[in-house]
């Protein structure tokens, strides 16, 4: 480089849309860069959440020149050809959302079906004698949404819990909350509300509160938005399944650097699952403390 000294590795971390979730991943990538010293991280957010925009971002990165890209695949079945092209030009791994049939070297992230199963377990815990549940998500055609949904269905199969339906909101929070309110009006006997995307937790909480059903209806959700954790702490949310985006970021950068440094084993196995955690009232305080530390608060 122009600054002299040893050439720095340029690694890119491409996510799927703009959300708080990625703040933690970013902290992870930064921590890794600091530890390694010879890495420069380019953190990219295609804000619309669309495959086309992501593709453009990656095209631009390739044009700019990078040594490795970690990407959260928006469409695993149909971006394959494009991903293969990318893999031909640089080191490619996937994180958060995989495309297993592509030529990416490795996947680092959550197994969303397994995460769904975990949520299913929480639901069974909170509804020991069964009941009706409604599921809320932004869009069902996103891979992680459909996998989590599949996981939940798998776990609940044969139990007395009945899934009424799925309500989508196209990431419009107002509508997410409105969906909850409408559900509570239409199905007065709904026992538990499940949110699959991070903002669905707070949206459910708000909707339940504004409908005056706080406490009467159970809530299970995903991820760790502030309001979600506060809800878990005060008992209005039974539990949330959290991923460890910090680990995605840290491991992706560290392992890509190692791999490029010659240690091929760092990205061995094709899939390196970062487990999810079930956060309930008893472990929420400890979890929160850890998050704050990661973010340097």
């Amino acid at each position: 480089g122009p600054g002299g000294g040893p050439k720095k590795l340029k690694l890119a971390f491409v996510v799927n849309n703009a959300s708080d979730f990625w703040k933690h991943a970013r902290a992870g990538t930064e921590a890794a860069a600091k530890e390694l010293g010879n890495v420069e991280v380019d953190f990219r957010i295609p804000s619309s959440g669309q495959a086309a925009e992501q593709r453009q971002v990656i095209d631009d990165l390739l044009a700019k020149g990078v040594d490795g890209i970690a990407v959260s695949v928006i469409d695993r079945t149909n971006q394959i050809e494009f991903l293969n092209k990318v893999a031909g030009q640089t080191l490619l791994i996937t994180h958060d959302s995989d495309a297993s049939e592509s030529k990416r070297v490795c996947y680092i992230g959550t197994d969303n079906t397994a995460a769904g199963v975990e949520a299913g377990k929480l639901i069974k815990e909170v509804l020991p004698s069964g009941g009706k549940i409604m599921i809320f998500v932004g869009t069902l055609d996103a891979a992680n949404a459909s996998e989590r949904f599949a996981g939940i269905k798998k776990e609940l199969a044969g139990s007395k819990v009945e899934i009424i339906d799925v309500r989508t909101d196209e990431t419009d929070r107002a509508r997410a909350q409105k969906n909850v309110e409408d559900t509570l009006v239409k199905y007065s006997d709904v026992a538990c509300l499940v949110g699959l995307w991070s903002y669905n937790g707070p949206a459910i909480l708000n909707g339940v509160k504004s409908s005056g059903k706080a406490g009467a209806v159970k809530i299970v959700c995903f991820d760790e938005e502030d309001q979600t954790l506060a809800g878990v702490a005060d008992g209005s949310i039974y539990g949330t399944v959290v991923q460890q985006p910090y680990e995605f970021g840290k491991q992706a950068i560290t392992k890509m650097a190692k791999y490029l440094g010659g240690d091929k084993s760092a990205l061995a196995g094709g899939q390196q699952i970062v487990p999810t955690l079930n956060i309930k009232k008893d472990n929420v305080a400890e979890f929160k403390a850890r998050l704050d530390k990661q973010l340097g608060k």
Binding site: N17, A18, S19, D20, W22, K23, I45, S47, D165, V166, R167, T168, T171, D172, R173, A174, R175, Q177, K178, N179, E181, D182, T183, L184, V185, K186, S188, Y199, P202, A203, N206, S210, S211, G212, E225, D226, Q227, A230
Partner: protein, 318 residues
Amino acid sequence: MKKELGIFTLLLVLCGVTAVMNPRFLSVTNLTNMANIIGLYGVFSLGLGMVIITGGIDLSVGSMFALAGVLLSMALTEWHWPWPLAAAFVIAIPMLLGWAHGSLVTRMKIQPFIVTLCGLLLYRGLARYIAGDGTKGLGNAEGFETFASLAKGKFFGLPAPFVILIVLSVIMWFVLHRSVYGRYLLAVGRNEDAARFSGINTRFVIGTSYVLMGLLTGVAGILFAFYTNSISPSNHGNFFELYGIAAAVLGGCSLRGGEGSVIGILIGTALLQVLQNLVNLLGIPSSLNFAVMGAVVLFGVLADQFFQNRAAKKLVRH
């Protein structure tokens, strides 16, 4: 009023049908929820209506919501400003931006569509940058409980946003239909030249309509921030400009300017929200949500047109 009659009938019919098919439509909870959401959307739709009446448009509403929401959250929870100051700040910013829009439109003669499209891009970018792309929240309203209860509490059993909408609508009704300023808005929207030749300060009238829009956007932005209680700047308020424009146009505002009424805008807003409620209450699959909305609106407009044509013909015959 004649113009609004058609869409008002459609609204009544929809309510009737929904109430019959699912009596819970008329439950207190549902009506309260709906009043709340109508309040939220109504406030900024009123502002959009005014701008549309002058022949303009404002595409930046949603982005302003994001900016206002982020600033509100930071002012209250991070900088710990007293809430009246925070409220004034969050209303002043959109007004200032509205003033800038108005100046660009009237002095620099740039099309409103372009000005506010740039606004749409700019303000969302700013909101995201200020928030560091993270979600901002209002938490449990510690330290500004009064503010929170003003924005999402209840008055006389009615949700605050609804009450605020009613108050603002009454004021706006007088402004648009009974005040000199309102008459000027309509005149400027129809024929700016003729208005200027009549001694109307058309720049001032058009410019202030954007400031007014800013004011209402600020108020709605606060209500909306308290409604979601958390603001993720990348999608908070996305597409809201479209809802507002649709409400205004459905309610009889013409995008060519010079036409529109407060009542019409309110009915338009209510119609859109009732439609969403209906789709949910009747258990129509989420995926068809939009399709049903589109179809009903189209049908309504068609029927309205049909009856108006018939009425016009009758008038001629006799």
